[in-house]
Symmetry: C2
Subunit: 251 residues, 2 copies
């Protein structure tokens, strides 16, 4: 039985302010919770008896067994399933020593929650372990973003940092895409470094440009043809990550 | 001055059924209408005096000059701008003779309107002139999709067809992505052909598999690592189109 207070608490986590105060976020659905419950500290688990029977030994601060209707009452999703988990927001420390050995992403004011979720999912695909988000980026713990990562948020560490201060500290190649950049396909790309992706409307901010050591361009086709002025940021991130990884995979 | 009936008419075009009955769709905003008005037959144009002064000689079945508040009343968007255009839905005929000389896309039940819009935008980037959508795909003329193409729908022809019948008629290489496909980077890719992308949850349908002459796989990294099970369909389309075009651009 789910109390009114608990329903209120879960639903209040739709608001960023409450998430930050409570240091909690919500993940929902059978696949999502299966994929993430071993990666986060679960404060509250609301699940049907069927789900709980299928997951013996599941650990949470509090476990409430409910009927499926009750899941629906608390859910933030359009199609509620059998389980809702409230997790503690993790705080990862940045391992500056390992950064020069990895490929990472930095997101400068990526504001659409769906784009952020898609980028986390593709980072997971490409074995990118760390994403550094500017403080102006969409909040990963927004329920829409959580769900759109399809569980990838359990495997990719997302750090919110002041990117300018961050770039002052890292000593690795930093790549960015610009309309006047160099053809990505014919540029030398290292297997390690940081790829910066800019805001949906404005690209990479002036403030961060000085930190970018290589300006890249994703060629359109045929080259020089008048076309859409830009690609969606998640799409551009995918294309560039694919090209970095293509150079290193065995053919 | 915008009559109640006109407002009602514009807003009714949010519904697919009405769009098909009236054979009309809505495009909004300064940039969107600038980019598309020469490509479609404009039945009705609702614009502020400022917009109309900036666009002398603009052609439409009916032009209504309104105050900005009135644009807001009729708008289907969250942030209305200075102009709303109602266009006739174009009906393109398929040029089967030119298909063997081009790279095209076929979408098998891509259901998310945002994904469809993003795919049209990236098709434009990569000079893909034709997209063949199964009848189960999201409707391009959904206002959300129209806006998310960022004007690319003026340059890319989207055809709704029965894909099985379509593939019976075309004689070109047909590529599809599968989890058990061949590493895309090491596969031979022709500069022409059709790339089939499948549904968000279920991939390419069994019914279409026999028409696919080359089964490709987008390698993850490191290869064989347990990861997200799939990529977002727009992201996967982008990665595969980039690889096809990379093979043909001058380096």
């Amino acid at each position: 039985m789910l109390s009114k207070n608990k329903i209120k608490f879960i639903q209040s986590l739709e608001q960023k302010k409450v998430r930050r105060e409570m240091n909690c976020f919500v993940a929902e659905g059978n696949k999502m919770v299966n994929d993430t419950i071993r990666s986060f500290e679960c404060k509250l688990l609301v699940a049907t008896s069927v789900w709980l029977e299928d997951h013996p030994g599941v650990e949470a601060g509090e476990i409430i067994e409910v009927a499926q209707d009750e899941v629906k009452k608390a859910s933030l999703q359009k199609s509620p399933q059998d389980v809702i988990a409230v997790y503690r927001i993790p705080h990862y420390s940045v391992d500056f020593d390992s950064l020069p050995k990895q490929l990472s992403l930095a997101l400068d004011t990526v504001q659409d929650p769906g784009n952020l979720g898609t980028i986390i999912r593709l980072a997971d695909w490409y074995g990118i372990e760390n994403i550094f988000c500017s403080l102006e980026c969409a909040d990963l713990y927004n329920p829409k973003t959580v769900q759109s990562t399809m569980g990838a948020l359990a495997r990719v560490k997302v750090h919110y940092v002041n990117l300018k201060e961050f770039f002052e500290k890292v000593k690795v190649p930093v790549y960015g895409t610009f309309l006047d950049g160099r053809n990505m396909y014919s540029s030398e790309l290292s297997a390690q470094g940081i790829i910066v992706m800019g805001n949906e409307g404005n690209g990479i901010s002036k403030e961060l440009e000085p930190y970018i050591s290589q300006r890249l361009f994703i060629p359109n086709y045929p080259e020089g043809r008048k076309t859409t002025e830009s690609l969606n940021v998640a799409v551009a991130t995918a294309i560039i990550c694919s090209e970095f990884r293509r150079r290193t995979v065995s053919l």
